[in-house]
C-alpha cells in the first residue's frame, strides 16, 4: 500500500487505555447545549429557510387582514388586534414542525447513530433539538412582530404584558416541539415527517379562536374549538397583548404547555431509546 498516506504521526490514533467519561446532570445539560449549538450555528447560513418560514406568516397576516378582515368583525375588538395574536400562535406552533423534520433527517442520514454511539446523555439529543427550534422560532417571532407593528399592531396591554404573551406562546410552541419529536423519531423518512408533522396542525389551528370568534361556529365545532388548547393559548396571549382580563386562560395555557412537555418528552425519549432501525 503506497499512495497518499499521510506521514503525520502526531495525529495518528494511538490507542489509549479505557477510561470512563464524566456524566451526570451538568454534563447532560452541556451535551444538550452542544447539540442545540449544532443546529443554531447553521440558522444564519440558511437564510433562505429563515426568510421563507417567515414569509408564510406574513402572507397570512396580509391575507386575513386585508382579504377577510373586512367581512370578519369581532365584537369589541379591532380585527388587527384580534387577529395577530392568533397568527403569532399559529406560526410558532407550525414552527415546531422543524423538530420532526430535522430529527427524521438526522435519523435517516445516520447522524443519530453517530450521536447514540457517543458517550453523551441520550435525552440531550432531543432536548438540544427542541431548544434550538425554539431559538429559531424566537427569531421568526421577532421578524413577525416587526411586520405586525408596521401594519398597525400595538402592545395595548403594555410592554411587560406583550413580552409575557410572547414568552407564553414560545413556551406553548416548545411543548409542541416534543409532540413533533415523537413524530420525528417514529416515522421512517423526512417525507413522512413532512406531512405527519403538519397535517394535524391545520385543523387544530383553524378550529380555534385564532381567526374568528368561536361563538360564530356551529355548536359541535364550537365545543371542540373552545376545548382546543390552541384556543386557550391564543386567548391567553390575546388578552395579555391587548391588556384585557385573561381570566383563567393564562394558567390553563401554561398547564397545557407543561403537561404536553412532560408527557411527550417522556414518550419521545422512550420511543427514541427503543427505536431500532437497520
Amino acid at each position: 500500500m503506497t499512495t497518499a498516506t499521510s506521514t503525520n504521526t502526531a495525529a495518528r490514533a494511538t490507542p489509549t487505555t479505557g477510561y470512563d467519561l464524566p456524566h451526570g446532570l451538568v454534563w447532560a445539560a452541556r451535551d444538550a447545549w452542544n447539540e442545540a449549538g449544532r443546529h443554531m450555528r447553521v440558522i444564519p447560513r440558511n437564510m433562505d429557510l429563515l426568510i421563507f418560514s417567515t414569509l408564510q406568516p406574513i402572507m397570512f397576516v396580509l391575507l386575513f387582514k386585508y382579504v377577510f378582515g373586512g367581512s370578519i368583525s369581532i365584537p369589541g375588538y379591532d380585527y388587527t388586534q384580534y387577529l395577530l395574536p392568533g397568527i403569532f400562535a399559529q406560526t410558532v406552533v407550525f414552527g415546531s414542525s422543524f423538530t420532526a423534520i430535522g430529527l427524521a433527517e438526522d435519523m435517516q442520514k445516520g447522524f443519530v447513530d453517530r450521536l447514540r454511539s457517543l458517550p453523551i446523555s441520550q435525552p440531550a439529543i432531543l432536548i438540544g433539538r427542541t431548544v434550538s427550534d425554539t431559538m429559531r422560532n424566537t427569531l421568526t417571532f421577532v421578524v413577525m412582530l416587526a411586520v405586525a407593528f408596521l401594519i398597525g399592531f400595538r402592545f395595548d396591554g403594555g410592554l411587560v404584558r406583550g413580552v409575557l404573551a410572547t414568552l407564553l406562546l414560545l413556551f406553548f410552541a416548545y411543548s409542541f416541539s416534543w409532540i413533533q419529536a415523537l413524530i420525528g423519531v417514529s416515522v421512517g423518512s423526512v417525507e413522512a415527517a413532512n406531512s405527519a408533522s403538519f397535517v394535524w396542525m391545520f385543523p387544530m389551528t383553524f378550529l380555534s379562536s385564532a381567526f374568528v370568534d368561536t361563538r360564530s361556529m356551529p355548536t359541535a365545532l364550537r365545543v371542540i374549538a373552545d376545548w382546543n388548547p390552541f384556543t386557550i393559548a391564543t386567548n391567553a396571549s390575546r388578552a395579555l397583548y391587548n391588556g384585557r382580563n385573561p381570566g383563567d386562560t393564562v394558567w390553563q395555557a401554561l398547564l397545557w404547555a407543561a403537561g404536553l412537555t412532560i408527557v411527550f418528552s417522556v414518550l419521545a425519549t422512550s420511543r427514541f431509546r427503543t427505536r431500532v432501525n437497520r
Partner: protein
C-alpha cells in the same frame, strides 16, 4: 483478554433473522474482517456491539464491559464509522470534528487542536472550513472516519468503509485504514469485498445468514478449503500424456487434470509445493518448463463455504 467479544448474538427483525447465534472475538491490536454478502447480518452485529441495537439473546462485551448493562461506559471506548457517512452536512469538516471532541468532554481548545491534527492526517486541510455538503464521496468517508477517531478510541468499528466509493478513493481509504490498524488500533471492519478483507485484516470471520460459517487468517481459510491450482507448462506437448499419469496422485479428490495445448492445470492441496512437482516430473522424464501454484481467491473460498458467488 478479547477486547471485543460476542457470544451467541441473536436478533430478529420481523421475518428476518438478522443474527442467528453469532460469535466474534477480537484481541487487543487485532484487525478482524467480518466478511459476508448483503444481508448476512454484518451491520446488525456492529450495531449490537456499538450499543445501537439490543440483541434478542446473547452477550457482547467491549473491554470486558457488558454492552447491554453498561452502554455508557462502552461508548466512551469505541469509535464507529457506519455504513452511511454520518456527518452533519451543514457544518464544516472542522466543526464536525470539534463537535465530537466536545461530546467527548474535551475542553474547547483541546477539541480544536485534535480537529486540526485529524484534518492534517486525513488530508482535509484545504477543505476544512467548507460545508461538508459540497464534499465528494471519498472526502465524506474520510471525515466520517476522522470523526470516529477524535477520542483515540480503544476499539474501532468500520462498517463497510469502502462501499460505494470509486476505485481511487477506495485505495486511498485502504491506505488510511492500513495506517490506522498497523498502529495497533483494535478494529472490527465489515466488508463485502474479499480483497479488502485480505488486504486489511489479520483475521477473517465469514458470515452468512447471521452466523459465522468459517474463521481464521486469510491463509488458514484458503488452506482449509484447498482449491490451490497448479499450472505446469511443458516445452513439448508430446510428454503430456506421460505427465498425466505422474501427476495423478497429486490431484485433489473430485477434480481432474485439464490440458490446454502444452499447459496442464490441476487442483492440488495446500501442502503441495512447486519443487515437489518439478522433482516428480523430472524423475519421470517429462521435465516441465514452468511450474506455478496459485492460492484460491477469497471468491473461491466464499463460494466453497456458502455455495453462492458473491456478486460484487
Amino acid at each position: 483478554m478479547a477486547l471485543i467479544e460476542a457470544i451467541g448474538l441473536t436478533k430478529r427483525f420481523g421475518d428476518t433473522q438478522a443474527l442467528n447465534g453469532l460469535n466474534l472475538s477480537v484481541d487487543a491490536g487485532e484487525v478482524l474482517a467480518v466478511l459476508g454478502p448483503n444481508g448476512a447480518g454484518k451491520t446488525t452485529a456492529v450495531r449490537v456491539l456499538t450499543t445501537l441495537v439490543r440483541p434478542d439473546a446473547g452477550t457482547a462485551t467491549i473491554d470486558g464491559i457488558d454492552v447491554l448493562a453498561d452502554p455508557g461506559r462502552v461508548r466512551s471506548r469505541i469509535g464507529l464509522t457506519g455504513q452511511y457517512a454520518a456527518v452533519d452536512e451543514r457544518l464544516t469538516a472542522r466543526e464536525n470534528l470539534e463537535l465530537v471532541g466536545r461530546f467527548f468532554r474535551m475542553p474547547a481548545a483541546q477539541a480544536r487542536i485534535r480537529a486540526g491534527e485529524l484534518l492534517a492526517t486525513f488530508d482535509l486541510d484545504e477543505a476544512a472550513d467548507r460545508a461538508v455538503k459540497g464534499f465528494s464521496g471519498g472526502m465524506r468517508r474520510r471525515i466520517d472516519i476522522a470523526m470516529s477517531l477524535v477520542a483515540r478510541p480503544q476499539v474501532l468499528f468500520l462498517d463497510e468503509p469502502t462501499t460505494g466509493l470509486d476505485p481511487t478513493s477506495r485505495l486511498v481509504m485502504w491506505d488510511l485504514i492500513h495506517d490506522l490498524v498497523t498502529q495497533g488500533t483494535t478494529t472490527l471492519l465489515t466488508t463485502q469485498y474479499l480483497d479488502e478483507a485480505d488486504v486489511l485484516a489479520n483475521r477473517i470471520s465469514v458470515v452468512d445468514h447471521g452466523r459465522v460459517i468459517a474463521e481464521g487468517t486469510s491463509a488458514e481459510l484458503k488452506a482449509k478449503l484447498g482449491g490451490y491450482v497448479a499450472t505446469i507448462v511443458f516445452a513439448d506437448a508430446t510428454v503430456i500424456d506421460g505427465a498425466r499419469a505422474t501427476l495423478a496422485p497429486l490431484v485433489s479428490a473430485g477434480s481432474s487434470i485439464e490440458v490446454h495445448a502444452s499447459t496442464v492445470t490441476l487442483s492440488v492441496t495446500a501442502t503441495t509445493t512447486t519443487p515437489q512437482i518439478t522433482r516428480l516430473l523430472d524423475g519421470a522424464g517429462s521435465a516441465p518448463l514452468d511450474v506455478r501454484i496459485e492460492p484460491p481467491t477469497l471468491d473461491d473460498v466464499f463460494f466453497a463455504l456458502t455455495g453462492h458467488r458473491d456478486e460484487s
